[in-house]
Amino acid sequence: MRVYFSMFKMRLIAGMQYRAAAWAGVATQFFWGFMNLMVYQAFYASSGTEPPMPWPQLVSYIWLRQAFLAIVMLWVRDGELLRGIADGHVAYELCRPYDLFKTWFARLSAMRVSSAAMRCVPILTLGFFLPAQYRMPLPAGFGALGLFLLSLALSLLLVTAISMFIYILTFITLSPIGSMLIITVAAEFLQGSLIPVPLMPEPLQRFLDFLPFRYTSDLPFRIYSGGISGYDALLQTGVQILWIVVLLLLGNAALKRVLRRVVIQGG
């Protein structure tokens, strides 16, 4: 296990080098969040009835998503790894005496952490100083903040576990672009990044409870704002853990399966 932890650390440090890219990302993500909020604001202003999600909760939902985009979004990917699968470089990795699943998991999660670590602070700081209607609210309480941090850490594991299937699938399709596009755009909707889950119709919300995606972003963000609290929050964090375990087991088995039939064509 120590090997994989060092790999994680190594990748983390490497990822932290791309500071210029991070600043460009901050600007874009901040703008994107701002634009989203303006659309929602117009919807809220023209609504006759009270929307099911109070405005401050929506604001924190959007800013948290923008700040931790690198953690929650499935389209964040390791292009080098994907190319390696298609062009056969992965053969070198297969020769090494490590477990491929754990190596990749360490590598992919480190990439997400380093990228999010550099972006979240400026975005959240800016968010806390915006004019009142767009200002990032404080967490619902100390308990909420603690549980949010735990749940966000679990999100990292859950998203990375889901993303492993994209890399495993690439062993079969060899060209990731198409299948990746379909998976990531569907996941974006199902996790509540396209429109927040509480604004969706109730039957759809019940349906999303049974899929893993909602637990990657909707859950931690709503714990932060107090939209999900108390017993419910603990229970759903439990579901989150359950999904991580299930997907890790499935992913591991799937990778073993595709590796058994992988053919490296010379090189």
């Binding site: 460009a24 874009t28 117009a42 919807f43 198409g178 429109i195 604004l199």
Partner: protein
């Protein structure tokens, strides 16, 4: 025309990876489909946005998506122009006795955007029947003007983004604010935003010309000035002129990165 020869070659090379091509096309369809689903669900919760109905917003969304898909289809070369600079391919382009614009346009043709285009056309068709406008020939022509205008404006932004690469070598993610971000912003009539955003995207980058201005005419909000609002998309087309000017300037200033 030589451009079509370029395009035919690019399509042929894409078709070598047929399965991937189809998957990407389906993926493109879903990108636009889920974006539309998002808008639909918002209107299931709220019945209007700043006075615009679902049908009207859907039409706006359809126009932007169509224009963006067409632009990405044939102006993709400018979108990935940093590769030309980084790899020194642009030197080769400059050696040939054809215009640089033509060659960059012909270097790439994203046929997979047809997936997005298909979805956009469906949206446009549905939206036209949902909104209560009495459609006539004039309005249909305006709708076509809007799409054409959108294509020219997005192409202009792509060219501006590419021109930046002459000076920075690295492409700037910042320009995404105006391409992808612009597509998102213009998915709704600009009147829903703060005044300064509406002004910026009307007078500096003229999204308004294919967005709320002609839309006001289509939805009968332009009493007395119908003709003016109907012709605004044509004004948007002029945006391409300064973009081409800046491009010329960039080409003149270009220093090769060597190879």
């Amino acid at each position: 025309m030589i451009y079509f020869k370029y395009v035919r070659m690019v399509i042929k090379s894409f078709m070598q990876y047929r399965a991937s091509f189809w998957l990407t096309m389906i993926g493109q369809f879903f990108v636009s489909f889920f974006a539309f689903l998002g808008i639909y669900l918002m209107f299931a919760r709220f019945d209007n946005i700043a006075g615009w109905s679902f049908g009207e917003v859907a039409l706006c969304f359809g126009v932007v998506q169509t224009a963006f898909a067409v632009t990405e289809c044939f102006a993709r070369g400018f979108d990935i122009f940093r590769d030309f600079i980084k790899q020194g391919t642009f030197d080769r382009i400059m050696l040939r006795p054809r215009s640089t614009i033509l060659q960059v346009l012909g270097s790439n043709f994203e046929l997979s955007r047809i997936g997005r285009l298909a979805q956009s056309f469906v949206t446009l068709g549905l939206a036209a029947s949902w909104m209560d406008a009495d459609w006539n020939a004039m309005k249909a022509v305006t709708l076509i003007f809007m799409i054409v205008s959108g294509v020219f404006i997005f192409t202009g932004i792509f060219i501006l983004g590419a021109t930046v690469c002459f000076f920075t070598v690295e492409g700037l993610e910042f320009i995404n604010i105006f391409t992808d971000g612009g597509r998102e912003i213009a998915s709704y009539p600009l009147t829903i935003y703060a005044k300064w955003i509406m002004r910026f995207f009307t007078f500096i980058i003229p999204f308004g010309c294919f967005n709320y201005l002609p839309l006001m005419y289509l939805t009968g909000r332009a009493e007395g000035r119908e003709l003016l609002y109907m012709l605004t998309p044509l004004a948007g087309i002029l945006f391409i002129a300064p973009c081409l000017g800046v491009w010329r300037l960039g080409v003149r200033r270009y220093l090769s990165t060597g190879n």
